[in-house]
Symmetry: D3
Subunit: 248 residues, 6 copies
């Protein structure tokens, strides 16, 4: 069905093949959820902090809140990136990604079941090789589930399963040299004509689609191929999430 | 084909109907391009500033650059919004939208034909009633063309037509109460389950797709309906752009 | 009486002649007061936001508060000015003008009659051709009156007329090539030896006088001529304010 | 001539009497000019820093530049004021006063005679009891002269006397309980209906007039009385400046 | 015992000799404690502000709080230093010294006896010639005592003597050209191989030791000699503190 | 010699016993030096970035430069700490520690042998359980050596051994309930009366001593015991550094 499957990529993968995924739970000790997610050479530490109570604007609503912050360590990249704390302001890219991660997780959370409690997700990129925002979503979901299990155990919420309505993962797809491909590492990402990040639920629906064609517009047919690839990738990522969550 | 066309909306429109569009060129006198775009009650002033030379990182590349900034006046909204200059930092939403507008315009510009010149787009929302980011893109394109015509006339570039590879416009679509609809005013936007902004070229291809389902995921079928609506809306917006640009 | 009246200026005006004034009320829909004021090519959008309650330091005083913020859109000027939100701080000139506008309006407001309510004035310059701060004061007064009428109608205050003790307008005067002149456009302002902004009440008294002689000091006689010009100009501006406020 | 001279003020002064003025040159050792100016209980340390070269925008103009910064130490006031460095931004009042001081000094400097050199004035208020901005101007002038003498001695400029075209001092005047008065301490300043700062040259001309009537407008007659008082006060301050500069 | 005593320094002092110390109480009028401390050419103005109540995190603890802020005036140094308020952020050195001063003073305060009251120490360097942080500690102690006497007199605390458990002073020591020396002026400080600041109580114990050997490590024997010098210097500084506090 | 050795601590260690140390080199792939250092539960990722060239103020000196930045991930601590990038400024503690790390490393680097090259050290705390600043120094030294070996291999410097004059490590010591102890975890650190961080070279000399007695002053005898403990601890840490560096 996907016509590009005979192309072999720089790292030997087929066009519809994910990079190896590794999800390590309890990566650090104190957070309610702490996950190291690795997608190829991309490594992101995702923590979920559970706090009783919600921000002021949400008080007395009976509803909870989930928010996320994304950041890169200075040497996650080949060239050192200045710290945003040193520059005194957060850049547009960081803001954009933090907001994306937050929306994706809120998309699978039942705020009523969460009650007036807050979860803060932190995604810190230790090493960046493309797909850091999608890896963050995939890892953050696992950290969120762990935090909900902790909250259930400590009687802050009735049931983790009722808070988490569905699972969510995300993957990048793109068109490189005219070929649609799944899960782009940095080298491919930087020459993609079209680049799309797709977050999907375990039941196969979309939470977020962000497609950008700064270099060459894409047509409806290409879009459909990209969505097919994203669907395949997300299914596999969700299997990895479930496998990780099954261990204890 | 679009099954919701018999629904009548609060403002009397059909589900696949745009709000009235008005594009006023030369809205102010000094900018190289200055446009007031009105989509229903949403009003955005878009200016395009042409400057010879490019930022340092782009020097000696032979290529130009296009960038955009978006902002809201404090009383564009029903409740007054504090100025970002007073708060001392730019919020995530502003960053996100500024970057989106920039990418969309760069998607139709031939940077080589532009040469080492820069265009800065400013989109300032005078009144906000939903769809400010898509109206900004639609209006900014017209301001950009005017700036290119100015630059051609003043011999800064060879040909405006060669710089502008295609036109671009954008429109919002969303699912309200289960019904896909075109061009959401604030009242609809705020209760949309799914919300999507779609930027397309005059030749009918996609530049940006940003779909968000914070409140309820969407499936492939809904996605397709939304894209059909967006295609219809963008075609009409592009007709309005061409009509405005034809007058002089 | 004014000895310079035979001089003809670049724009054909006499030395004691105002530029054409236009005051458009209800320029946008949602603010309690929304005015576009045009003095020649200078165009400022002035909104007045009424909010029940006062800042913390003013609580339980029985008194209201009026404050103002001034800003320029980036392409209000011939060369683009960077946004203060992007630079992360407000410049001295902006601060100075915001404070001036606030003082002028407070000078005609009975804070007791306003009660514990706040009015926030926003003056955003769409196009700048000299005299933006004085145009802002002139326009803001009209927006303030509209906001008070709205507040009276919505029973937030007893009587708009009792809150507004007097009208206030402002105009610039200056000495160009040794000649005192009224209402300076940018081209005159930039070569003025002495530059003065004068805000006056409808009853002909002074609220603010700010005279600056960075380039050549001025003597008492020149000062008197400038004040005569300012008096004449403010009377005419107040007539325009009253005419605008009479329509509904 | 001044009708209020029989009123006796809280500190025993007549309405047209200055507070005791003390000007200490060489207050600290390293700056090119360093002055402690005391007007009653108000004490301001004024330093003038001479630097060869001018800011970038002024390069190759053959002209010099003079700029000023004003600040209060935290306990200059009865209640401690938070440091602006700690708050991370400079307030409007500080900006306004810094700009005022700079303009006043530039008003008496021949930029051509200064050549491409810069003088930075720093006025730091050690103790505030009203009139800190006018005391700053009066003291800064003396520091500026010392810096010019230093520059002449070190061959950076040809002649201090040619750079300094005239002297400048400033004083506050105001209307308290309907009585115009000279040189207001804090207790009078805080209940002034009208408050005016007047900077004048040694030859009796105006450099700056800033009159504010936030609490009650003033008429032309009151203005004239205030200007008479300011003229008298400035003459006496200039005598004190000359006396200080005569010692060495 | 100290082997370097025959070395004569640039300013004629012996290696174990302090610079002349002068402590002026009531340097300004309004603060609860206001001290000018001079150590050679280094001059620091130290004020202590007493406020009833403590910061939120300390409420209902029954304990007081003491905090300190340090800053340099722009021309305290040979070259002008930009204001941190203008740069919009506080530098690392300033932070480091402010924290040091705060810790030293808290080290001699009985927080229970202080009760829920706060003292804010401000140390502003008028002239810097080495040892500004140690002079700040020495002067701040005197200002703190004055503030406690004021608070006792005004019945905010039971007894100043019970709040102040011991006195504290500080001095710098260092190794210059292999010779350990006491109380370094700037010229010595800048060529010190090892540099140490030592804060001690009146009873001869240590509150802070900060030794730095960026240029050449030091051994245990050198450390001991430096501590002997610091002990001698601090005893003499404490005598000066007691002498100043004995006058009234 | 150390009299407290029979006390057993909460984690079963003797008073003069280090926590288990683990040093993992090449923790991430791209930096020139990348080390994970673990001291008990404290985990810090230390990277060293080598860049040809030095900051402007150091140009044409023939000398290199080494600088360091320290930061905590938000959930390194039991309670989440807000990001300094979000707060828009770097706190005093962060500044203080960054500067300390930089000084310690510069203390063992021959800047001439480094030539006009820069090394930027980044220490990011993944998990904090006391002693994060000393662990950072210990780990950063290893990352620095790796970066120098890389630079030697890539011909940027002649010899890594000549740049690195000596090794450096650091450890905390403190007095808890009157007992001097080595290497404090958070639980001990928070109740320490006296707290000292000691950085030493491989040849047994001191680079930095920072002792603080906010809660109870310490005498010379206690100081000596603490320094003995620090000496023992640093010797063991240096053995671990050498062992790690011996592997390849």
């Amino acid at each position: 069905m996907l016509d590009g499957q005979t192309v072999i990529r720089a790292d030997g993968r087929k066009v519809d093949e994910l990079r190896p995924v590794r999800i390590t739970r309890h990566f650090t000790d104190v957070p309610e959820g702490s996950v190291l997610v690795e997608c190829g050479n991309t490594r992101v530490m995702c923590t979920a902090t559970f706090t009783a109570g919600v921000p002021r604007w949400r008080k007395d609503s009976g509803l909870g809140w989930v928010t996320a912050e994304y950041a890169m360590l200075p040497r996650a990249t080949a060239d050192r990136t200045d710290r945003e704390s040193v520059r005194g302001k957060i850049g547009g890219r960081t803001h954009e990604i933090s907001r994306l991660i937050g929306r994706c997780l809120r998309g699978v959370v039942d705020m009523k079941a969460l009650g007036e409690n807050q979860v803060q997700i932190d995604c810190d990129v230790l090493q960046a090789d493309g797909g850091t925002r999608t890896a963050s979503i995939t890892g953050a979901y696992v950290a969120l589930v762990d935090a909900m299990r902790w909250a259930e155990k400590h009687k802050h919420i009735r049931s983790a399963d009722r808070v988490i309505k569905d699972s969510v993962s995300a993957v990048s797809v793109g068109v490189i040299d005219g070929k649609p491909m799944l899960d782009l590492p940095y080298i491919e990402d930087s020459k993609a004509m079209t680049d799309m990040n797709v977050a999907m639920t375990g039941s196969g629906e979309f939470i977020e689609i962000q497609g950008t064609a700064e270099h060459r517009p894409f047509n409806r047919a290409e879009l459909n191929t990209l969505l097919d690839l994203a669907e395949k990738g997300n299914k596999e990522l969700q299997a990895a999430q479930q496998a990780a969550l099954a261990q204890d």
